[in-house]
Symmetry: C2
Subunit: 183 residues, 2 copies
DNA sequence: CGTCCGTTTCAGAAATTTCTGAAACTCAGA
DNA sequence: TCTGAGTTTCAGAAATTTCTGAAACGGACG
């Protein structure tokens, strides 16, 4: 399988970016390729399109699956696995954030809580700092949970509001909105 | 300089996490150490606290400076540089997001725009997919810009509202809020 | 049961990143 | 201008990550 120049360059870019994103070049390239392919691809097609080894493709796909970033498809009478990315970009973003949180945030939260469990250590400043950090992270993850609960349409709406957010907060404050509207 | 067990474990954890965050172990450790230190530290103190080489410390600090994650202090009659992290955790988060965006998002946006410039390539699906992705990223960065514009207090308020967000959107829709309140 | 088609695992090779010690550099004060 | 405390740079060493080819594995079908 051979790529158009557009696909080529897109794939190469995501390969490069991969490194900055904590995934490796190959994984980035595989994902980029799937993202641009209308039809699902099997491992063999990916291998030849990217000129990498079959086992490297296998590793990459495994990694992408562990990130929930690809979907598995099958063709009748063909037992090879075919891979695609979701059509809905928002779904992709959600997954990305969720997985990143799982890997980057949650373990830290656990550690911070453990450190707090120790009780007094003779280093009040450090203790306070850790507690403060834990609280901040908790607040942000809760917010994320709430955002996740919104359907795509509402989310887009929220993001589109843009500069109106500040004004909105102001207004709702005046209205004593928060105490009374516990949907 | 020697660390308390609490500092030790916190520092080690951030060292480990560092790898998942696209910064290296040492940089993570240096940052963690500064984060827990009430007093600013100089390079020598960091070197001995973490048992790393002086030049490694220097590299790490340089990297942290390039991320805008540390502040420089000076003591009268001492020309060594002393480093701290900002007291305000929200400021840290803002910086982190801003820098991450600069490294991980902006280059991609540029590339996507370049790819679109090419015009028709005989691969309409790929073109559409790229355009869609570019739009999504633009929307998210704009939203980020707007959030950044809010002062910390308002931001906390927004995050705290949690589950009320969905209801709020509903309500404001009914009120035809968006067309009329262009603060 | 054996074969075939496909996937996964794994140990070593290759590439990349991180870390170190030594040398070069900077600049304030004598 | 020289000295010396402090910082930065850099080439190679060490460690880590990624990639490969070969071998093991799995399970559908005759």
């Amino acid at each position: 399988m051979t790529l158009t120049p557009l696909q080529q360059d897109f794939v190469l870019h995501f390969g490069e970016m991969g490194s900055r994103w904590g995934i490796n070049r190959t994984v980035g390239q595989i994902y980029a390729l799937l993202f641009l392919s209308e039809e699902p691809l099997n491992a063999e097609a990916i291998t030849s399109a990217l000129s990498i080894s079959r086992s490297n493709t296998s590793m990459g796909l495994k990694e992408l699956q562990s990130w929930n970033l690809v979907r598995l498809r099958h063709r009748p009478g063909d037992r090879r696995d075919y891979f695609t990315t979701p059509d809905d970009l928002w779904e992709i973003v959600r997954t990305l954030i969720a997985e990143r949180r799982k890997r980057e945030i949650d373990p830290t939260l656990t550690t911070l809580r453990e450190l707090e469990m120790r009780g007094s250590t003779g280093d009040p400043y450090a203790e306070a700092r850790i507690a403060e950090l834990r609280e901040l992270i908790e607040m942000m993850t809760q917010f994320h949970d709430e955002m996740n609960r919104l359907e795509t349409e509402r989310l887009v709406q929220l993001m589109t509001m843009g500069r109106k957010l500040g004004g909105l907060l102001e207004k709702t404050n005046k209205m004593k909105f928060w105490g009374t509207n516990d949907t």
